[in-house]
């Protein structure tokens, strides 16, 4: 469903040069202040994102003093179910959500407004990296405001002690794992209690083993789960299990509960999103102790695609003030605003707009560079695959990590789910 729109690398970098020119284009051009109402529903309920969003909306209010803005911040988890209600009855004018297949049910049910008109050439260029994942049936259904990289966070000091470097190939990666094991350090920490963390491992193993196109075909249900290529990916995973890569009893932990292993130095690596950096720092690790590397190459020559979950703004189809909402979306997509809200003091993530500046943060810089050179961006397993498939598959991943001998059963089960979802 999502096709890749050319190599991002060049477009991101070259466009960055003309930052100043493009920025002004996104700001409100007519100079006229908006009037009427604007109701905004947000899922940014954690303290820092909440403050960021409120400050951003306050700025929009300042630009449009006559606009009556009503903001409603809903708990992030509760939002995931509530959105189904408020999109069908009493819809706000703007609502946050996620890119990729995660927005498909709402698009199919006609609950999101087609905002392709906002995606003119300039915006398409500035937001090129995520345009494919905002596109369904050839139209765009929202604008992205932030994303973040996934990759391997590791204990740089432990690596240095053992004379290990950042692995770039599969063999080097396996070597790192062996050396860590020999020194009684669990190579990788993970908590699979809530399943999605295992989805990250599958994403990367599959992206590196079979490439982006195949990964997207698989998550879109176009390839059978019993396909040999899927088995190849699981074979790689099996190699990791055989090498005793992961901490014991990971099924008992959430992703936060798996952090202390790394903080205490009992484990050395963690495949995670950039949001893991904040708790690691809070737990007392300095930036000298935390390192980051891109997930190593597996099949030689396959372009490196990355996971970069994107958070987005949408206009519900039943919104009453769509003109104001469009102005707000244009505001949110602009380079300046995205630089500001994604800065280390605010969200601490990456701006999607290529003309934005990235805060001078070790991990944001590395992430920005990695995503800029990525051949393509996946959204993350549970956003790329339909919900039903995602639920069953991530459970299967967890089971595989505990009972690798059950692989055939797991794949058969997933194939049945795929066929049912496709048939429906």
């Amino acid at each position: 469903m999502f096709t890749l729109s050319g190599p991002l690398a060049k477009s991101l970098i070259t466009v960055a040069a003309s930052a100043v020119v493009a920025t002004s284009a996104f700001a409100q051009t007519d100079g006229e202040s908006l009037t009427g109402d604007l109701r905004i529903f947000l899922d940014t309920s954690n303290p820092a994102p909440r403050a960021t969003m409120e400050a951003m909306i306050a700025e929009f209010q300042e630009m449009n003093p006559e606009l009556n803005i009503e903001t409603n911040v809903i708990d992030r988890e509760a939002y995931k179910t509530q959105i189904r209600n408020f999109l069908t009855a009493n819809a706000p004018d703007v609502a946050t959500w996620y890119a990729g297949n995660r927005m498909l049910p709402f698009v199919e049910a006609g609950l999101f407004e087609d905002v392709s008109d906002l995606w003119d050439d300039e915006m398409s260029e500035a937001l090129a990296s995520t345009k494919p994942s905002m596109t369904i049936d050839g139209a765009q259904w929202g604008v992205p405001y932030t994303y973040y990289q996934w990759g391997v966070y590791y204990r740089e000091d432990i690596f240095a002690d053992l004379g290990l470097g950042e692995p770039t190939t599969w063999d080097e990666f396996l070597n790192v794992i062996n050396v860590l094991n020999e020194n009684d350090i669990d190579p990788v920490t993970i908590g699979t209690k809530f399943l999605w963390t295992a989805g990250g491992w599958f994403d990367y193993l599959n992206l590196r083993q079979n490439g982006y196109e195949f990964h997207m075909d698989l998550t879109n249900g176009e390839v059978a789960w019993t396909d040999q290529r899927v088995r190849d990916t699981f074979a790689r995973w099996g190699e990791l299990l055989e090498a005793d890569t992961f901490i014991d009893n990971h099924a008992a932990y959430s992703w936060q509960e798996a952090l202390p292993f790394m903080v205490n130095g009992d484990a050395a690596m963690y495949l995670m999103g950039n949001f893991a950096v904040a708790p690691l720092r809070e737990a007392g690790l300095s930036d000298d102790q935390i390192g980051f590397f891109q997930f190593p190459e597996i099949t030689e020559g396959i372009p490196m695609a990355e996971d970069a979950p994107t958070d987005t703004f949408h206009i519900p189809a039943q919104a009453e003030n769509k003109d104001n909402a469009r102005a707000f979306l244009r505001f949110v997509a602009s380079a300046d605003v995205q630089s500001e809200i994604n800065s280390g003091a605010n969200l601490g993530q990456l701006p999607v707009n290529a003309n934005s500046t990235v805060d001078d943060d070790k991990f944001l810089n590395e992430g920005f560079e990695m995503l800029s050179n990525a051949s393509a961006l996946a959204q993350f397993f549970d956003r790329d695959a339909p919900a039903e498939v995602a639920a069953a598959a991530m459970e299967g991943f967890q089971q595989f990590m505990v009972q690798p001998e059950q692989l055939d059963n797991i794949l058969d089960r997933l194939e049945r789910v795929r066929q049912r979802v496709n048939g429906g």
Partner: protein
């Protein structure tokens, strides 16, 4: 003369017949609206494929057919049976503690309160406490096991024993509940009968079995009912302690229904309704037994 009789209003003529129905009416309306109608709706919904947003599509018995081949369903069903059977351990355990505490010592009220305490705290807290208790790296259980050279066991990460671990956590407050029921029951035991039994030479187990327990029958019945209900309400502990995992091995039917129909990756309303219908039919067996027993008991009196 005859006219006077027919002149009596309809109300006057039928007052005696109608009044009871009028009194019943509010309850019947509520019952129909909030119990009967949802049951009918669930039956109906279970014949559709519906994500809660788009058009519901009629698919006949397909949801039930899928359920028939769904391993996760049988795991959940089996766990429900485990819960029902093992949860009943709370009754003898509660009885033992009640008998133990049924004495007059200084400060006995404090001890009773302490034993009753687990029932007062919320199930969510119980779940969290036991999650930490079982934790393989810092949990009390594994520290104690370590002293005797055993373990560590990751109770909640092991699909074979996780359910038993959760049931054990559930037994903690449930035992306290049964205990309090028996303590009240023991207060009502006739001292004269005990006296008489003692004169006849009964003591210990015989005294308990032939003299005390028969007098505790009402308490036992209530304890049985609330424990069975408690076992079917095991949702919160499962949700807090394992979230149904590892890989679905600790789900119970109620949790599976929630997961399928209402959780983050769910919204298969029809399938969820089909699970609800099956759960309802299973509970119907228990409810019928309960009703028949009540009916017989009433006739017996």
């Amino acid at each position: 003369m005859t006219s006077s009789k027919s002149n009596r209003s309809y109300w006057k003529r039928n007052q005696i017949a109608i009044t009871p129905w009028l009194f019943l009416l509010p309850a019947m309306i509520m019952f129909a609206l909030y119990v009967v109608w949802p049951i009918v709706q669930s039956f109906n919904l279970s014949l559709y494929r519906w994500d809660g947003l788009g058009e519901a599509r009629y698919i006949g018995m397909q949801n039930y057919e899928e359920l028939w081949y769904d391993d996760a369903f049988y795991t959940s069903l089996w766990n429900n049976v485990l819960w029902l059977v093992l949860y009943l351990l709370a009754i003898p355990a509660g009885l033992l503690i009640a008998i133990f505490l049924n004495q007059n010592v200084r400060g006995i009220r404090i001890y009773k309160s302490l034993f009753f305490f687990p029932f007062v705290i919320s199930q969510v807290v119980v779940g969290l406490v036991f999650t930490w208790f079982y934790d393989p790296s810092f949990g009390l259980l594994n520290i104690v096991l370590g002293w005797v050279g055993l373990g560590p066991i990751a109770v909640l990460a092991n699909n074979e024993i996780a359910t038993y671990g959760i049931i054990a956590a559930g037994l903690w407050p449930q035992t306290a509940y049964c205990m309090i029921l028996y303590l009240t029951g023991l207060n009502a035991v006739d001292p004269e009968q005990i006296e008489a039994a003692r004169l006849d030479g009964a003591k210990g187990g015989k005294m308990l079995w032939y003299v005390i327990l028969p007098q505790l029958r009402p308490a036992t019945f209530i304890a049985f009912v609330v424990t069975v209900i408690g076992a079917l309400r095991s949702f919160d502990l499962v949700s807090i302690m394992t979230d149904g995992g590892p890989f679905g091995s600790t789900r119970v039917l109620a949790f599976y229904m929630f997961e399928v129909a209402l959780s983050e990756y769910g919204f298969r309303m029809g399938y969820g309704a089909a699970i609800a219908v099956v759960l309802f039919l299973i509970m119907l067996i228990y409810i019928s037994y309960f009703l028949i027993k009540m009916y017989r008991d009433e006739r017996g009196v």
